[in-house]
């Protein structure tokens, strides 16, 4: 690594998604982890002792909150009570920032139970921007917003993914949490080039990057699509995208590895963090 690349890299941060199964390993290796990302909803009704534990952790390592249930990308206004809970949790934990997905998670009184891609059109751009404005007002700061993976071309879409994301992120003036596996999965599933898709995003707004893995699944009529399941290692193609991001976006970024199951030994995740450090540094070096 060159001196210049090392200097640039030192402004970037690297962390892991906080999961109970990983807690012991993370706590034993805090020196190698700059921050943890906590699922906000897991602490909404947490007992006081759990919040105190999080506060103690926040004194040792950076903490950011990640929401999964607001459904900000919707023509339906987000409920203030959901935003109130985010605001209270930020106060209680001292989290430095928060993020949410560009997804809808409910409609017509039905909970989907996961992140669904809404129609990518002007009405959703306006709805998402209104919701982000409301979120910033109630929480006190705007979330960074994350691109999601989808197995279906969102029905009734009129904008392509990059354009849709750019209009929301730039229109609302918020930061982008760029999930590179989501980007990769959507690109390969729907015939786009991942690097081209990356270049069409507002990269100057990227604050945080998610890395994860997935697997190919079969569908009707012989269809095969890549599912972002957070159960597998990060593929080389995603590290290549991280390098490209490092080359194209000079600002400091925070890298978070997400793993939701089939947990490997912590050493394996730390190794992947090292690969991420090297990939980003290589991109930074290529830009200089």
């Amino acid at each position: 690594m060159t001196g210049a690349a090392a200097a640039v890299e030192s402004r970037d941060r690297f962390g892991l998604g906080w999961r109970p199964e990983l807690a012991a390993g993370i706590l034993a290796h805090l020196a190698q982890i700059d921050l943890i990302e906590v699922i906000a909803e897991e602490y909404f009704d947490a007992p006081r002792r759990d919040l105190r534990a999080l506060q103690t952790l926040a004194a040792q390592v950076g903490i950011v909150l990640h929401g999964v249930s607001l459904g900000l990308a919707s023509t339906v206004p987000v409920e203030p009570r959901r935003l109130d809970r985010i605001a209270r949790l930020i106060d209680a934990t001292g989290a430095e920032s928060w993020s949410e997905h560009l997804a809808f998670v409910r409609g017509g009184g039905i909970e989907i139970g996961h992140l669904a891609a809404p129609p990518r059109n002007e009405a959703l751009v306006e709805g998402a921007c209104r919701n982000l404005e409301r979120a910033a007002q109630i929480v006190g700061c705007a979330p960074q917003v994350e691109n999601i993976a989808t197995l279906v071309v969102p029905p009734a879409s009129r904008l392509d993914e990059a354009d849709w994301i750019a209009r929301i992120v730039c229109g609302a003036g918020v930061g982008l949490l760029l999930d590179l596996h989501n980007l990769y999965a959507n690109a390969v599933n729907f015939g786009d080039d991942p690097h081209s898709l990356l270049c069409r995003l507002p990269l100057e707004r990227v604050k945080v990057v998610h890395l994860s893995g997935g697997r190919w699944i079969d569908g009707p009529d012989g269809a095969r699509r890549l599912l972002d399941d957070h159960l597998h290692d990060i593929p080389p193609e995603v590290f290549a995208l991280l390098s490209e991001l490092g080359r194209l976006a000079p600002q400091p970024v925070t890298i978070v590895i997400e793993r939701d199951g089939r947990f490997p030994p912590i050493a394996r995740l730390l190794e992947q963090l090292d690969i991420a450090r090297a990939a980003l540094a290589a991109g930074r070096a290529a830009a200089t």
Binding site: I39, E41, E42, D45, V68, S69, S74, T75, V76, F104, V105, R106, G107, G108, G109, I110, E111, I112, G113, H114, A116, P118, P119, N121, A123, L124, G127, T150, L151, V152, V153, P155, A156, R158, I217, G219, P220, D221, A223, R225, L227, G261
Partner: protein, 81 residues
């Protein structure tokens, strides 16, 4: 061409197997019966039906996994732990 009604319709397709099967057999008729406007009906008729099936299956598996692991399903359902 996007509305709370369309989001509700999609939420039903993603969570109710029989509604999805009915929609795939008669997309325009089912969408119109749900009160969607002409543009929305047309868009759904030409939608990525293979993807709808795969997305619905994936959501169903994720809901099941969360229930089995006493995990994050309550986050979405609004239930308290």
């Amino acid at each position: 061409m996007s509305s709370p009604a369309l989001e509700g319709f999609l939420a039903r397709l993603y969570t109710d197997e029989s509604s999805l099967a009915e929609f795939l057999r008669r997309p325009a008729e089912i969408a119109r019966a749900a009160g969607l406007n002409d543009a929305e009906v047309l868009a759904l008729e030409g939608a990525d039906h293979v993807g709808l099936v795969m997305a619905a299956r994936s959501f169903r598996a994720k809901r099941r996994r969360r229930r089995n692991h006493c995990g994050l399903f309550w986050l979405f359902s609004g239930r308290k732990r």
